[in-house]
């Protein structure tokens, strides 16, 4: 479809326009989906819908499937290890098989969390549109792809048509400028943005993350940033690809190779937001002042620096906010005004599509190396994919974690969503590298504090929330 190519445009505009198949009568756009990733908990009903309506999978070659949410992460697990997951795991496998879709199940060396394996396999590429029935699909925006998280009806829609009918999001930019201090990682940047923008700050928008601090990040760290776009209320988050991105993609299983790769890089280099491009919202975040972040409440915007205090709702004039915060503190079992550092924890979880890549595990391992976690703490390390797990074992990280008293588990979503047996007990408190701290998220009445991998590692050692910079001697 022809679009005015002369107007200054954003990275988002360029990718979206290149995928526009039709403009629908109701104002929505029909966009082509280059890649589709399936997981067991949001695809079963979609396949049932196809069957009911007698429709087939239009382009199985553009689709991959894995098992990640409801799989057991116990060492040596198989499809039956967690009986509660059997039905959905079996359906994923048989549906994929019948539709001739590649399936990376728990017995496959490529199995892992959808948003970890899509970049890892070179399945997500810069300038592509990738859909997945999971809201953290924005993760692949870290490569300069448009990762669109969809519901089950839309999974069915993509399977049947290889397109999505969507309201075009508006452009928004968050610039991270300045040099971060020691111990500050990507998770702290995005959590800080959460605190400033709130859970509805990006609603209706595609958010481009830019600025010197983003350019300085590794590709894996950029995936962490884009991962939490949905927590800002945005459906899409992305970062313009650069030389680091090209080097990351090169040589991966589904990535182009040889001359095709060179042609790809030529296209990818042009993926920059033009000078005159308009962002409806443009936010600046000063990175020099960011301290390690940790959440205290029941939504990711309930976040503060580790040396700060839990807020006191009594001093707030806005009744709605006051009640919201009071309810959050009540659920979390925290006193108004108490310092965040020193809050005792029961569980430390390192994993999830936010922070389970090799660089995350490496950073956490450096903190715990040669030390023991507190005897009061259950520590879990759950690699994001079997490939991350193999790489970590090749580097000896599993030995470091085990020697420190952590459980070293198989790949999956695990305690991020607690739909399998990895559950935080009622009333227990977990510090986690995942992305959601909602009530009951990690199990009924579980309490969650979100933080970076190094902060979780430091808390596991201390037995309470603590400033990782002290552990690092910074």
């Amino acid at each position: 479809m022809a679009v005015d190519a002369t107007a200054p445009s954003t990275v988002f505009d360029k990718i979206w326009n290149a995928h526009l198949v039709a403009r629908l009568d109701d104002g929505r756009d029909l966009v082509f989906v280059d890649r589709h990733v399936l997981q067991e908990t949001t695809s079963a009903v979609a396949f049932a819908g196809l069957k009911r309506t007698g429709r087939g999978v239009r382009h199985p070659e553009l689709t991959i499937a894995t098992q990640d949410h409801i799989v057991s992460t116990s060492p040596g697990r198989d499809e039956d290890s967690y009986p509660g997951g059997r039905e959905l795991l079996t359906l994923m496998r048989s549906n994929a098989y019948a539709a001739r879709i590649r399936h990376f199940g728990v017995d496959d060396p490529r199995q892992g969390i959808v948003h970890v394996i899509a970049p890892e396999l070179g399945f997500a590429l810069p300038a592509s549109i990738l859909a997945c029935g999971d809201s953290h699909t924005s993760t692949v925006g870290g490569l300069g792809a448009l990762g669109i998280g969809v519901g089950t009806s839309e999974v069915e829609h993509v399977l049947a048509t290889q397109t999505l009918a969507l309201t075009r999001p508006r452009n928004m930019r968050v610039r991270f400028e300045g040099k971060t201090g020691p111990g500050i990682v990507a998770k702290d940047l995005i959590l800080r943005a959460m605190g400033e923008l709130g859970v509805a700050g990006g609603r209706g928008c595609a958010v481009e993350y830019a600025g010197s601090a983003i350019e300085a990040l590794s590709v894996e760290a950029r995936l962490t940033i884009c991962n939490m776009s949905i927590e800002l209320g945005a459906r899409l988050g992305l970062i313009a690809p650069d030389e680091k991105t090209f080097a990351y993609v090169k040589g991966r299983e589904f990535a182009p190779s040889g001359a095709a790769f060179e042609r790809a890089v030529e296209t990818w280099r042009k993926l920059r937001s033009d000078a005159g491009a308009v962002f409806e919202r443009d936010i600046l975040i000063d990175c020099a002042s960011i301290a390690p972040q940790v959440t205290w409440g029941t939504t990711p915007e309930h976040v503060a620096g580790v040396s700060d205090h839990v807020p006191d709702p009594a001093v707030l004039s806005d009744a709605k906010r006051r009640d919201g915060i009071a309810q959050a503190l009540n659920y979390m079992g925290l006193e108004p005004g108490m310092p965040l550092a020193g809050i005792p924890i029961d569980v430390a979880f390192i994993g999830s599509c936010t922070n389970s890549r090799i660089s995350d595990l490496e950073a956490a391992a450096q903190v715990v190396k040669g030390r023991r976690i507190s005897p009061n703490v259950r520590g879990l390390v759950v690699p994001g994919s079997m490939s991350v797990k193999r790489e970590a074992e090749a580097r000896g990280l599993h030995e470091i974690f085990r020697a420190a008293g952590f459980e070293w588990r198989e790949a999956g979503c695990s305690m991020c969503v607690s739909i399998n047996e990895d559950i935080v007990a009622p009333g227990s408190r977990c510090i986690a590298t995942s992305n959601r701290n909602f009530e009951n998220r990690q199990g009924p009445r579980s309490r969650t504090h979100l933080a970076s991998p190094v902060m979780v590692a430091a808390a596991a050692l201390a037995g309470h929330i603590t400033d990782v910079r002290q552990e690092l001697g910074a």
Binding site: D34, I101, S153, T163
Partner: protein, 213 residues
Amino acid sequence: MRKPVREISGVMAVMPVANVNTDAIIPSVWLRTATADMGKGLFGGQRYDDEGNEKPDFVLNRPPFRETKILLADENFGCGSSREAAVWALVEFGIGCVLAPSFADIFYENAFRNSLVAGVIDQATYQALKATVEAHEGSPDFRIDLASASVVTPAGEVHGFRIPASRVEALMRGDDEIAMTLQHQPAIEAHYAAAKAGSDWLFPATLQRSAGS
């Protein structure tokens, strides 16, 4: 084809908190099978105690709200995730319409795909409807008229809500989104063919080769 929707009548309940997330609407414990009774799981975390017994003070556990057909919610309803089961849970419970000052993006899309009416109201309307429900605790019977995008209170007052005309038409016709899109099939396949020829890097041979092999 879906069942066309024109009118929804019945009890309105109020969920007077902002940012109600999809984990709260349907907790993950209800998502382990393809056939769970999602309506029972609606707001499960708040509706049941640890033993699975109903908490008598939760709104949906009290008559007349056990029969809720219309939900009045606050800002950013359905935020959190893409979990479509949040919509299924509402629909299976019997709720046909949610009115709120704003909705999270994905929830909003998911709602229409399941014929759940998502109407946007301003804060003044939210407050007025909330007060009306409280004033009619015994029988808070409201009526949603889709064609006029309005809600009629038990006393006969009429408030408008916002919903795109195209969505109203689609709901009233009971449109099947996929069937509509398939009318564009030639354009879709032409796009794929052109992209394969022009951006060969985007569709490398490894993709084509391993499909189904």
